[in-house]
């Protein structure tokens, strides 16, 4: 039930290597084929533009580092094929294109000090490994390349995503009625006894809103962990859409909100004041209260 069957097809550009790595490269090539991965290689001379096109016809590139510097040690120029492949891959500006750099010796010694430079050069799309087994390395490559891209459903933009538990639906509706006069609000009622994938919905809808509001009256036990999970799933402090938790003071107190302190903004107030608090938070967020 929980097996990843690695059904996604992808291509890997197998870079040229220094002479000491030729035999390993051939061995890896066979392993890649057995793993069901299509290989792209440079055959013959290519202009830089043609090389770039060829590399971009694959989804990722693989570079094997040996004890000989891929850069010409005398001139310091990247004109050797392995160095050209490495530099071209580094220059590809696409977050979907991955670059797998493999140092199979697993060590750095006097002979391959240049690996330190390569390691310091690692950026977001580079995966560096010094695993000694080529099988394990290819397994990792396959698992990294088999991450499914997120498909987001089309949703409309709103001012506020207003979330509440079905236990509090009556009072939540009174609040949304009041808020609805001022802002464009989309409601989400959470009921544990349904098949809706709420996280998926929030994932897609929240970034399209200016703020998310989690309201609770009786369902305080639900609201705090819920807000935490949503905060975590939607980027935390780095999220562009902040969350605001509002609790009815007839069933909540400050101690209950302690887990949210310094992480998520919240209020505890009378039910009738909560729309005002949400409005004020929204105004602050959008800079509206500065004009008075």
């Amino acid at each position: 039930m929980f097996l990843n069957l690695y059904t996604q097809n992808f291509k890997v550009f197998l870079s040229a290597v220094t002479v000491d790595m030729e035999s390993l490269r051939n061995s890896v090539k066979q392993i890649l084929l057995k793993a069901g991965i299509e290989i792209v290689e440079q055959k013959g001379d290519l202009t830089p533009g043609q090389l770039l096109d060829l590399m971009l016809s694959a989804n990722c590139s693989m570079h094997i580092l040996g004890s000989i510097d891929i850069c010409d040690p005398d001139s310091g120029v990247y004109h050797t094929p392995p160095a050209q492949h490495y530099r071209t891959a580094k220059g590809i500006d696409s977050k979907d294109y991955k670059m797998f750099v493999w140092n199979p010796s697993g060590t750095i010694n006097d002979n391959n000090q240049y690996v330190n430079i390569v390691r310091r050069d690692i950026d977001d799309n580079t995966i560096y490994s010094d695993i000694t087994s080529p099988i394990v390395f290819v397994e990792e490559l396959r698992s990294i390349m088999n991450v499914k891209p997120e498909v987001k459903a089309a949703h409309d933009a709103y001012d506020i995503l207003f979330i509440y538990n079905s236990l509090d639906k009556d009072s939540a509706r009174e609040i949304t009625n009041m808020l609805g006069d001022l802002h464009k609000v989309v409601n989400l009622e959470i009921n544990a006894n349904t098949n809706t994938d709420y996280i998926e919905f929030i994932h897609t809808q929240l970034p399209l809103c200016k703020m998310g509001a989690v309201y609770f009256d009786f369902a305080g036990d639900w609201a705090i962990p819920f807000a935490q999970q949503v905060w975590k799933q939607t980027g935390g402090a780095g999220s562009s859409t902040p969350l605001f938790v509002a609790g009815n003071n007839s069933h909540a107190d400050e101690t209950q909100m302690k887990p949210l302190k310094k992480i998520i903004a919240y209020t505890i107030n009378e039910k009738s004041i909560i729309p005002l608090d949400i409005k004020i938070y929204y105004d602050k967020l959008t800079g509206k209260n500065d004009t008075k």
């Binding site: 039930m1 929980f2 330190n116 390691r119 310091r120 050069d121 690692i122 950026d123 977001d124 580079t126 995966i127 560096y128 490994s129 695993i131 990792e140 698992s143 990294i144 991450v147 538990n165 079905s166 236990l167 009174e174 009041m178 006069d181 001022l182 959470i190 009921n191 544990a192 006894n193 349904t194 098949n195 996280i199 036990d221 639900w222 962990p225 819920f226 935490q228 999970q229 949503v230 905060w231 975590k232 980027g235 935390g236 402090a237 780095g238 003071n249 887990p259 310094k262 992480i263 107030n269 009378e270 009738s272 004041i273 005002l276 608090d277 409005k279 004020i280 209260n289 004009t291 008075k292």
Partner: protein, 1080 residues
């Protein structure tokens, strides 16, 4: 960035509160929740240290609480337990706590096993027919304790308590599947115990049915574990550091704890996430060689490294991810003494640095043990550890103080963790159980690994020693079972090297006995050990002495025998000579006599020999007696010496205890004296502060009054008022001082910073503020106009046409979208503003003007009060239809207030308060005060109080339900005509006769109300007041201007600060007040 938040917990597991930073297992959490939804149970197994508990507590549980597990109810009951030494008791305790039932009662309910747990749940208030019930989740964490604790599992056989616990849990799962009950069970267990589960009937089938083997994290997931928490907390980590960490992380044991610990230190090294975490930080925590850094980073590292003390540098010699923990613990070990001396205020500082290290060694040795050839943790109390240390001057206080550095929130290598500022978490009680936070520490701190090996070796020798000693005890301490000289020498060395005592033996007692019993047994064992060694020593010495004596005896005997032999030979030769002479003489006569003589001679020889032998035997017996006597004397002396030593030790102990008690008493006296001194100092400081404050207030008030004088320079007024405010604020005096407020308002008005809002030219009948802080008003011509307020100006955004033939006499806004009004001719209308149709709807006439109108809280009805005492309840959707209810009190109404679905509080002018339920048409008088008039009323809902204003400006606060007086205050010196309450700022605002407006916070009703403006001074009559959503008061005057006032003077001050208004200089101050005063 919040410095208090570290998104990586270090060596300890994630708590439920930290679930927000628990990343990398999202898919596994969803899979476990799916298992629960489908199978009602999940049996989570995995290797030690792979985060099973974290996954349940920081992953599955928060998701379940957040409503991401499909279940019958929205709420959850969580009953979690660890089997510990009695799984049934642990289960009962947890279930009882969860459903609020005493533990004993729960145990009585559950002891019959099978459906007992399900029955208990079904009978509870949490299993309901409607949605208000709660699902039950049982978590059996660290289930391997069923096998690791000898109380639960001995010689391959589980205890009865284990059987009943398993029976209850499995049967609960079975019934919840069959009956579709919202009960779920999660088990977590180390996978190396899976084969032992077969001893429980049915358990293997259930495991196979719903097992979840925690997978090793894949590269992508480890990347999430590393990167996501930092991002969530607003920090970042460089891609190259992530890649290097992933690569250097060994797979298998301790992968995650090592990683989390390293990340925790990296975060702190990067200035609590203020900097991007990078390779240099990894090098600074001894996780990577500085040689791999870029030249610029290397330079930075080298200059930083030079600042480290010498003892720390050695930990950077072999950098690696695993070394980080070794270096961290090692540095703490080295610096524990200094930390103790500086921080352990409660402990005597009578130990040396070496003793501090010995204490740490003993603590960690006590907290580790060997189980199946693996070094694992072993919980111990502080009392036990102090007992093992066994030095009079080292008390629990010393032990706590020395090891505290391992328990701080920054280090968390030992638990329980201390909390800064909480002494009870630093100076722990003796029965507090200490535990190593994670076994990864034992495997990665080299020093601790060596100690653990030493402890294992000790234990092995102890077992050998105990075997021999027990045989001796078994045979009634028979001498022949004592140690021989070779083994004695070995065990004596072992004993002297380890100096074990009763507490150390106690550590290895795995029986079910109580602690007291165990301690008694260990004490016996300790005494037996001492006796065994002592008797063995005596026996060996006695044997050696005996051997020496025997040798001496043999030598003596041999010497005596030789001398005898020589003498006998001489005598025999002499006799033979005589006999030869006699024989010569009587050769012929005495042939037969010769034979007899020879026989006699032989007899004599035998007799002589016998005599000699007897003497020898006597001497030997005397020697033996002497040896035995010596041996007995020596034994008695040794015993006497031992007893004397014991008495001396007891006396020393008593003296030490007395000294300790005396020291504690002295400390108490000193503490008391210190507290008194501190109290006196505090009082003196308060008096001083108070004097300074009073002086400053006087100065502030003087300045405030001066701010209202003309200087021909309006800005100077502003600066004087602002300086007065700052003086007041710096001395933390009352927030809203009337003089100050007046000065601030005056000077701001003088500078045109506060201007009335100009709206329509038509006279205004009434106004209100809506949720968006817009002004909605109705003119006397019946036109409704809406204004946005921006940049201190009102801009019209909506206006209705005027259809009225008569002028409006009175109007009220029950809500911002609805206005009701009466015309001069006493005709009544309503206009709904929210829709497009603004045509007034005519209401049934009640013969007088509308006094007030309110919506019921559910928004369904409008309650309209007329001046003549008539009250009508109208349907919001059909206001011009027939009223839902009517009441005629036939006396003038002062005010009304709607509460609940259908209660209306009616205040009459003759000061009676009635509650009318318009559904049941039931009226009850709940309060009356003859002889006075009442004018206005409002409700403070958060306190269930009604505030009623009487003719002389006094206000009474009445309980909403009973009408009893709770408190009162003087709101004004004249009649209060209107009172309103702002639920957000919790301020009351009052409009008094004479057009004075004052405010008072409802949470300090003893405070004198602050008069914020007296409109008599402006010759303006005030028609109405209203709060906006920020607590600003809007005031409508008869000249149709709308003015606004902040309830909080700080808001004005902030505006002046933003305008960069300067304080008065010293010179200006002197000129204005005629004296010098420091405004700083």
């Amino acid at each position: 960035m919040n410095a208090e938040i570290c998104p990586y917990p270090g060596l300890r597991p994630f708590t439920e509160q930290e679930s927000i930073f628990f990343k990398g297992r999202d898919m596994h959490i969803r899979q476990i929740i799916k298992l629960l939804e489908e199978n009602k149970m999940a049996f989570i197994t995995g290797a030690s240290g792979d985060g099973k508990s974290s996954m349940v507590y920081a992953g599955v549980l928060p998701n379940i609480r957040a409503g991401f597990c499909k279940a019958r109810f929205n709420g959850w009951l969580i009953a979690d337990f660890k089997p510990q030494k009695n799984p049934f008791q642990s289960l009962c305790e947890s279930i009882g706590r969860t459903i609020d039932m005493p533990k004993d009662e729960t145990a009585a309910e559950l002891k019959h096993g099978f459906s007992s747990l399900v029955d208990l749940y079904k009978k509870s208030d949490f299993y309901t027919d409607d949605d208000s019930g709660r699902n039950l989740l049982i978590i059996a964490d660290q289930f391997e304790e069923m096998f690791t604790n000898s109380e639960n599992f001995t010689n391959g056989k589980p205890s009865d308590e284990s059987y009943i616990t398993i029976n209850l849990l499995l049967e609960t799962i079975r019934l919840s599947i069959i009956e579709q009950l919202p009960i779920y069970v999660i088990f977590t267990m180390r996978s190396d115990f899976i084969s032992q589960c077969t001893v429980f009937k049915n358990l293997p089938e259930y495991i196979a049915y719903s097992q979840f083997f925690v997978p090793q994290l894949k590269r992508n997931e480890i990347r999430q574990v590393i990167e996501q928490p930092a991002k969530l907390a607003g920090g970042s980590i460089s891609p190259r550091l992530t890649e290097i960490i992933i690569n250097n992380l060994n797979s298998g044991f301790d992968q995650l704890p090592i990683l989390q610990h390293a990340l925790n230190l990296l975060w702190k090294m990067a200035d609590n996430g203020e900097q991007q975490m990078d390779l240099i930080h990894l090098a600074q925590i001894a996780g990577i060689s500085s040689d791999t850094l870029s030249p610029s980073d290397k330079k930075l590292f080298d200059s930083w490294f030079e600042t480290l003390p010498e003892y720390q540098r050695k930990y950077y010699e072999t950098p690696s991810l695993n070394n980080i923990l070794n270096a961290h613990a090692g540095i703490l070990y080295e610096s524990a003494y200094d930390y103790f001396m500086e921080n352990a205020k409660w402990a005597d500082k009578n130990i040396t640095p070496d003793e501090s290290k010995e204490i740490i060694e003993t603590v960690f040795k006590s907290l580790t043990k060997t189980d199946n050839k693996r070094q694992v943790r072993n919980r111990c109390t502080i009392n036990e550890i102090t007992g093992i240390i066994n030095k009079p001057h080292i008390t629990n206080a010393t032990v706590c103080g020395v090891i505290n550095i391992f328990r701080t929130p920054e280090n968390t290598l030992l638990q329980p963790f201390s909390v800064p500022g909480r002494l009870d978490t630093q100076y722990l009680s003796g029965d507090t159980v200490l535990d190593v936070t994670h076994e990864a520490l034992i495997r990665n701190w080299k020093m601790l690994a060596e100690w653990a090996e030493e402890e294992e070796s000790f234990l092995k020798d102890y077992h050998d020693f105990a075997t021999q000693m027990n045989r001796w005890l078994q045979y009634d301490k028979d001498q022949q079972y004592l140690l021989t000289s070779g083994t004695f020498s070995y065990f004596q060395n072992w004993y002297l090297a380890n100096r074990p005592n009763a507490y150390r033996f106690l550590k290895y007692d795995n029986t079910k006995n109580s602690f007291r019993q165990k301690l008694k047994l260990a004490q016996n064992q300790y005494e037996n050990c001492q006796d065994f060694l002592e008797y063995s020593d005596l026996a060996i010495k006695a044997q050696e002495t005996s051997k020496r004596r025997k040798l001496l005896t043999v030598i003596t005997i041999l010497a005596a025998f030789t001398v005898g032999l020589i003498l006998l030979t001489g005598w025999a030769m002499r006799e033979r000579e005589n006999a030869t002479n006699v024989a010569e003489y009587a050769r012929q006569q005495a042939d037969s006599a010769l034979v007899q003589r020879e026989r006699a001679l032989k007899s004599q020889q035998i007799a002589e020999r016998a005599n000699t032998n007897a003497k020898i035997q006597k001497a030997e017996a005397q020697v033996q007696a002497s040896i035995a006597k010596n041996a007995r004397d020596e034994a008695l002396r040794a015993k006497y010496l031992a007893e004397r030593r014991r008495h001396e030790a007891d006396s020393l102990k008593e003296i030490a205890e007395l000294n300790l008690a005396n020291a504690e008493f002295q400390k108490l006296i000193a503490d008391d004296q210190r507290q008194r001194a501190e109290e006196q100092a505090r009082i003196a400081k308060m008096a001083n502060d108070s004097a300074t404050r009073l002086y400053s207030v006087a100065m502030s008030n003087a300045l405030a009054m001066k701010a209202k004088s003309p200087y021909g320079n309006e800005k100077l007024n502003l600066r004087i008022a602002y300086t007065a405010y700052l003086l007041n604020k710096r001395n933390n005096v009352t927030q809203n001082n009337a003089e100050l407020y007046d000065a601030m308002l005056y000077s701001m008005e003088l500078n045109d910073l506060i201007k009335p809002l100009k709206t329509t030219n038509e006279p205004i009948a009434a106004f209100t503020i809506d949720l968006a802080d817009r002004i909605i008003l109705i003119t006397e011509k019946g036109r409704v106009i809406g204004y946005n307020v921006a940049d201190k100006k009102a801009k019209e955004f909506f206006s209705s046409s005027s259809n009225n033939k008569e002028l409006v006499k009175s109007a009220v806004f029950p809500s911002p979208n609805l206005v009701l009004y009466s015309t001069m001719g006493k005709n009544h209308y309503s206009i709904n503003i929210s829709g497009n149709d603004h045509t007034p709807k005519r209401l049934q006439s009640q013969g007088d003007y509308i006094k007030n109108a309110m919506l019921t809280p559910d928004g369904r009805f409008i309650v309209v009060a007329y001046q003549n005492g008539h009250i009508s309840v109208l349907d919001v959707d059909d206001p011009d239809g027939r009223p839902e209810a009517n009441l005629n009190l036939k006396t003038e109404i002062a005010d009304i207030f709607c509460y609940g679905k259908s209660d209306v509080y009616i205040l009459t002018k003759n000061a009676t308060l009635q509650r009318w339920n318009f559904k049941s048409n039931n009226t009850v008088e709940i309060f009356s005060q003859p002889g006075v008039n009442a004018y206005a009323m409002t409700c403070i809902e958060s306190k269930n109080l009604l505030a009623i204003c009487f003719s002389k400006g006094d206000i009474q606060f009445l309980d909403l339900k009973t009408g009893t007086k709770e408190s009162d205050m003087l709101g004004s010196h004249s009649r209060i005509e209107k009172i309103i309450y702002d639920r957000r700022t919790k301020y009351l605002a009052m409009l008094s006769q004479g057009n004075m407006i004052s405010i008072v916070p409802s949470n300090s009703m003893k405070t004198k109300p602050l008069v914020i403006d007296d409109f008599m001074l402006h010759n303006f009559a005030v028609k109405n007041i209203c709060f906006d959503s920020y607590g600003t008061i809007y005031v409508l005057t008869e000249e149709s201007f709308i003015r606004y006032f902040e309830t909080d003077i700080n808001l004005y001050a902030e505006e002046l600060a933003q305008m960069k208004i300067n304080e008065l200089t010293q010179e200006e101050y002197g000129v204005i007040l005629g004296q010098s005063y420091s405004t700083k």
